[in-house]
């Protein structure tokens, strides 16, 4: 066995040197994981360009991009934390912010980051990524107000050359656009809803509610107010539209508007990429955007807007590097050029960026007939009220709106039921926060 001794010793030595070298390298290198929901091929490629540029400018920092579908994002964040394999950088929906903050998921931004956000973002958007105590938790990204997106061709064929500006007009046009064939099949629908998706149901409802002079929660966010008379009128609008055939929950506004068979839908700006690629509707000549029609109790068009933010996990061993990466993505490195994320939001998504320098730098890209209308709406749209338990309240409301659409209950009963549950959730969350 002596003849084996030397080769074995050499092998052991090489392994030891390799391990030590690896350990040395690992000590110098930092790997950050970023979790987003931007997962299409184009979006992945655009994000990778940003990541590659940062890694080139910052040797020793490796960025790993992980994306999941929006429907799984919250689950992924929660299970990742529970399993101890959480990402360093999250991009998430601001409605989840209070839950994450209460559970200690997020790290506070540095003072430099807070100052940068304060100097470059409108106060309304800053509020949307802050908790009730005024603490800002991350860099806001896209601002998404809701507007009435309509098919000009279908409305013109039905005899209307302008979109509805009141609910009566909305009902009239929706009924006129709807076409049902001899067998009862709906070949064309007036107003599309998005059943089965909480934001797809609750955000358009909220946009109509605000345009009817109503509100979602009280200003101090302690009780539900969507069950007000204005709220009941809003839900009655849905019931009336179903009764007249102007809408039908079996048709998906999200899926069928791009195929050119739905006249109107209430939607957000990020849909631009889908509409541009759609074969059933010509984006430039047939897609129109209008303000949310005003309800009988409202006096001016209004809407709702939600946002997203970049934040850092409190368990991240590289918080400073993570905040540096987020800052780099959002900062303008050359005057007038905008940020990397601003470019991505505007040109890859069709969304409205939060930072002033991005809104200025990409003003031309946002001047098309579609995005410009949303930019205008972002000035007056009500930010979605974020509150602990907000996701649960939203889902409960979605289910009750669907129940009205299905004719299972009345608007009064539906809203009274969900408001009582929402108040109980808000009360429970308050008590938990006090414990």
């Amino acid at each position: 066995m002596n003849y084996l001794r030397k080769p074995l010793l050499c092998l052991l030595l090489v392994t030891l040197i390799g391990a030590l070298a690896g350990a040395g390298l690992a000590q110098d290198d930092i790997t950050l994981t970023m979790l987003t929901h931007w997962g299409t091929e184009d979006q992945l490629a655009a994000q990778q360009v940003i990541i590659d540029a940062y890694m080139e400018a910052n040797p020793g920092v490796n960025i790993e991009l992980v994306t999941v579908d929006f429907g799984e994002l919250r689950t992924k964040i929660i299970t990742g934390r529970t399993a101890g394999i959480s990402a360093d950088v999250y991009h998430f929906y601001h409605l989840w912010l209070p839950d994450f903050v209460n559970a200690g998921v997020l790290a506070e931004p540095t003072q430099d980051d807070l100052s940068y956000i304060d100097e470059n973002v409108a106060q309304g958007t800053i509020d949307a990524v802050s908790t009730a105590d005024g603490q800002v938790w991350g860099y806001p990204t896209e601002v998404n107000p809701y507007l009435l997106v309509y098919n000009k061709r279908l409305l013109a064929e039905a005899g209307y050359d302008a979109p509805p500006s009141t609910w009566d007009e909305l009902k009239e046009i929706a009924e006129a656009v709807t076409q049902v064939d001899d067998t009862g099949a709906i070949s064309q629908l007036g107003l599309g809803v998005m059943a089965g998706w909480d934001s797809g149901i609750v955000h358009p409802f909220s946009a109509l509610l605000f345009s009817n002079g109503g509100s979602y929660l009280s200003d101090d966010r302690t009780v539900a107010e969507f069950n007000s008379p204005q709220g009941i009128e809003t839900l009655q609008l849905y019931a009336d539209l179903v009764a007249s055939g102007g809408t039908d929950p079996s048709i998906s506004g999200l899926g069928d508007f791009p195929s050119g068979t739905v006249g109107m839908v209430i939607m957000a700006p990020w849909w631009r990429a889908t509409l541009r690629a759609a074969e059933g509707i010509d984006f430039d000549s047939e897609v129109g955007v209008a303000e949310i029609p005003v309800g009988p109790s409202g006096d001016a068009p209004s809407s709702i807007a939600y946002t997203w933010l970049f934040a850092v996990d409190s368990n991240s061993p590289n918080k400073a590097a993570a905040w540096d990466f987020i800052h780099w993505m959002n900062a303008e490195h050359e005057a007038g050029q905008g940020s990397a994320i601003g470019d991505f939001l505007v040109n890859a998504l069709g969304a409205i960026p939060s930072f002033d320098h991005d809104q200025a730098a990409f003003a031309d890209s946002m001047s098309d007939h579609y995005v410009s209308a949303f930019v205008a709406a972002s000035a007056y749209a009500h930010p979605e009220q974020i509150v602990a338990g907000g996701q649960e309240i939203k889902t409960l409301l979605q289910v009750e709106i669907e129940a009205v659409l299905a004719g299972m209950t009345t608007p009064e009963e539906a809203l009274a039921s969900v408001a009582a549950q929402a108040d109980a959730i808000l009360e429970e969350q308050r008590m938990m926060a006090e414990e």
Binding site: T82, A185, A403, A406
Partner: protein
Amino acid sequence: MTAVSPKRAWWTPDIPKSPLMRRRMLWAYAFISLPILALLVFLLGPILFSGWVSLHRWDMLSPVSEMPWRGLGNYVFLLTKDKVFAKALGNTFLFAIGGVGANTILGLGFALLLNSRIRGQRVWRVLYFMPVITAPLALAVMFSFIFDRNFGVVNSFITSLGLPRQPFLSAPSQVLMTLIFIAVYQFVGYYIVIFLAGLQGIPQDYYDAAQVDGAGKWQEFRFITLPLLKPVMLFVVVTNTIGALQVFDLVFATTGGAPANSSMTVVLHMYNTAFKFSRMGRASAMAFILFGIILLITILQVRLLRDRAYQD
């Protein structure tokens, strides 16, 4: 008079006297210890942890050591206040009753046909079994198109007969029946195979003797086939009920519980409660309630069917 050895407790091993046998026994324990350890770590551990969590409020994000104690609060809330849970429980029972009934009747019916002298027996067996090996999510997406109110094949067929168009998955009154149909389509092939194996295990002699006595086909089925198939029936009913009460993927992919919770099931509600609303304590309590229900139903089914099977 022979010596009577004292009665040995069941947990004390019967140690063999021969060294060879003792060594073999040690190896046997060594081999079995790994699966037992895995069972403890990956099955019993999570069950006990889940039971502990069900007595707390836990958002899965806060440390386990800081979970606020709720006692039986989660159970009380679910059984007295949670309307969605009550609705989901009702839907799940209906789904189980419809699914188990249809799978048992159709499974036995098709198995009898396949057991007779029909042409292309093997081809039929493969055809019936194909949905069983198809991914449930793929089937769910496929049936969403097939049952579409406006463009679905089923509605095209219905309207060609002059009948009114049906909403199927988008109507509260029809969604559950449609889901039962899809589930039966997927799993009936499996139960056909089980029944077929049972039928082929019945000795031909019984039928020959019955024919000599002048028994008809119905009498053969009533007095020979059915009684001798009861152990198989017990297996089919029990396993199908357990599976049906835990239905998740089909509903998740087709309707997500919509419209208005008309197709919400217990496990889907459990998933939403845990991961969408971050209420792991309540979701765990739901799991234990469902476990209790399944256990009770299974004991009842086993007692009813097994006793009758042995009596017969």
